[in-house]
């Protein structure tokens, strides 16, 4: 059930390469293409194109290989507090746009800055898991923590990778992420902005997980990655004497 088995064809495109689409083709990630005329599109970024053929329907998936994180409403991100104002925090979310989190949202009730000090709740340097509530390109990003599992992060370690490679860390139907969690017994929270939070039972497992994530990042464009990473983790575990061997 890994993603490699479903992919029929994969090619690398660079800006200026043209792609011909017909009526039977659907495209995921059309924002990375530029329409030249009715059926010809041009790639605007260095990207991989996965072509899946089912009966007489073609499905293209454009996966960019590099680029900054652009916020999207509903994304879960991991941010750090960089500034505190009277009734809000400025959060760095690893994107060209900085985000705001309002005090009333974090505290859950009306906040009066004359009575309370906002730094009591969150101060510069604190890390939090939040969801993007609003994003307008002309205004900015507004975060919310009003959802299950969101809020200040007090333990664990943070790994940062390129945001466009997050999709590979999760994998198709979370296959990669489930495999990682199963193999390393770590709790993994993936922020869409390229930051990953790990909570691991031991230092050695944490180290292996970080190595595996970095390997996913550098080999994101290869086929059959989940299997490769699984073998890699097992190998590392054997090397460190955590397990003796495992039957595949």
């Amino acid at each position: 059930m890994y993603e490699s088995s479903e992919i029929k064809e994969r090619k690398l495109v660079i800006p200026g390469d043209s792609i011909t689409l017909d009526q039977n083709t659907t495209v995921e990630g059309l924002t990375y293409l530029y329409k030249l005329n009715e059926s010809t599109y041009m790639a605007t970024v260095t990207a991989l194109i996965d072509v899946e053929t089912m009966e007489n329907k073609r499905r293209l998936r454009v996966i960019p290989l590099k680029g900054r994180y652009i916020p999207k409403e509903g994304d879960v991100v991991i941010g750090t507090v960089v500034d505190v104002s009277l009734s809000s925090w400025t959060i760095d979310i690893n994107s060209p746009y900085s985000a705001v989190l309002y005090a009333y949202d974090y505290i859950g009730k009306n906040f009066n800055p004359t009575v309370e000090n906002i730094r009591k709740y969150l101060d510069v340097g604190d890390v939090l898991l939040a969801k993007i509530a609003q994003f307008e390109r002309s205004r900015g990003v507004v975060l919310t923590v009003q959802d299950k599992g969101l809020g200040k992060i007090t333990s664990g370690s943070l790994v940062e990778i390129e945001p466009c490679k997050i999709a590979r860390v999760i994998g198709k139907k979370r296959s990669m992420l489930n495999m990682l969690m199963e193999q390393t017994r770590c709790e993994i929270f993936v922020g869409n902005n390229g930051r990953i939070l790990l909570r691991c039972p031991s230092l050695e497992l944490e180290y292996i997980t970080i190595l595996a994530i970095k390997k996913i990042e550098s080999e994101a464009h290869t086929i059959g990655l989940t299997e490769k990473i699984k073998d890699f983790i097992i190998e590392e575990k054997v090397k460190r004497g955590l397990i003796r061997y495992e039957i595949k």
């Binding site: 690398l12 660079i14 800006p15 605007t44 900054r68 060209p96 464009h221 290869t222």
Partner: protein
């Protein structure tokens, strides 16, 4: 005239460095060489060596400069003080460098889809490490690959090359000596897949007929460099795949 006395084309039609008129200098393109930059490239046109680094899209630092509908593109072209022959170049930005920064920026702007990132800045730095003619053209070629390496959406790559006239012969990709003694020098930047010209300058005199020939010559050379650019971008991902 004094200029015409210098013999730049030999009897057998070869130029001072042994090239044929329509022959390019050996070109080398390497990408992703700087760790801190989002995208980077080093381009060599013979002895001319240019480093380009791209940062962004990132927050605009003097806040008032940001634009509500698109990203601002800032470009700085600079010649390092050891890049020239003979006298050391002053490190202070000269009038020429400021002008070339603008020329390079305007050559790249049509290719960049800046409206996808409003209220941000894209910074392009072009540093000439070794100058031997054609630094602006090498700079544009390098900056275009660095932009693609940074993952910035572009309509097409941009390639630039100079065409000149030496002793009445049209030649491509002039080196330092030819550049200084040419009858005409015309740097051209093109988006090859779209077939659109983004920069065209002309120093000296060309007849309309010569101009047409020169343009064709440039397009041919640009297509060759374009292939090298694409190969450099592909190479980065293919080496990991093995």
């Amino acid at each position: 005239m004094k200029l015409n006395k210098i013999k730049l084309i030999a009897e057998d039609g070869r130029r001072i460095d042994g090239r044929l008129p329509e022959e390019l200098r050996p070109i080398k393109i390497d990408i992703g060489i700087l760790k801190n930059a989002d995208g980077s490239a080093i381009v060599e046109y013979g002895a001319t060596k240019v480093l380009a680094a791209v940062y962004g899209p990132r927050e605009v630092v003097p806040r008032h400069e940001e634009l509500a509908d698109r990203a601002i593109i800032r470009c700085r072209y600079r010649m390092l003080s050891f890049s020239t022959q003979g006298e050391r170049k002053s490190p202070a930005p000269s009038r020429r460098e400021i002008e070339l920064s603008k020329v390079i920026r305007e050559a790249l702007e049509p290719a960049i889809l800046s409206n996808q990132y409003p209220r941000t800045a894209i910074d392009i730095f072009v540093e000439v490490i070794n100058a031997d003619g054609g630094t602006r053209t090498a700079g544009i070629t390098a900056a275009a690959v660095a932009l693609a390496d940074a993952g910035i959406p572009m309509l097409d790559l941009v390639v630039a090359v100079a065409v000149g006239k030496l002793n009445g012969v049209l030649v491509v990709d002039l080196n330092g000596l030819e550049d200084m003694n040419s009858e005409a020098d015309m740097p051209i930047a093109i988006m090859p897949s779209l077939g659109k010209i983004t920069m065209l300058q002309l120093n000296g005199v060309l007849t309309p007929e010569d101009f047409r020939k020169a343009l064709l010559l440039a397009i041919n050379s640009i297509n060759k460099i374009y292939e090298l650019q694409k190969e450099a971008l592909r190479r980065k991902y293919l080496t990991v795949e093995e």
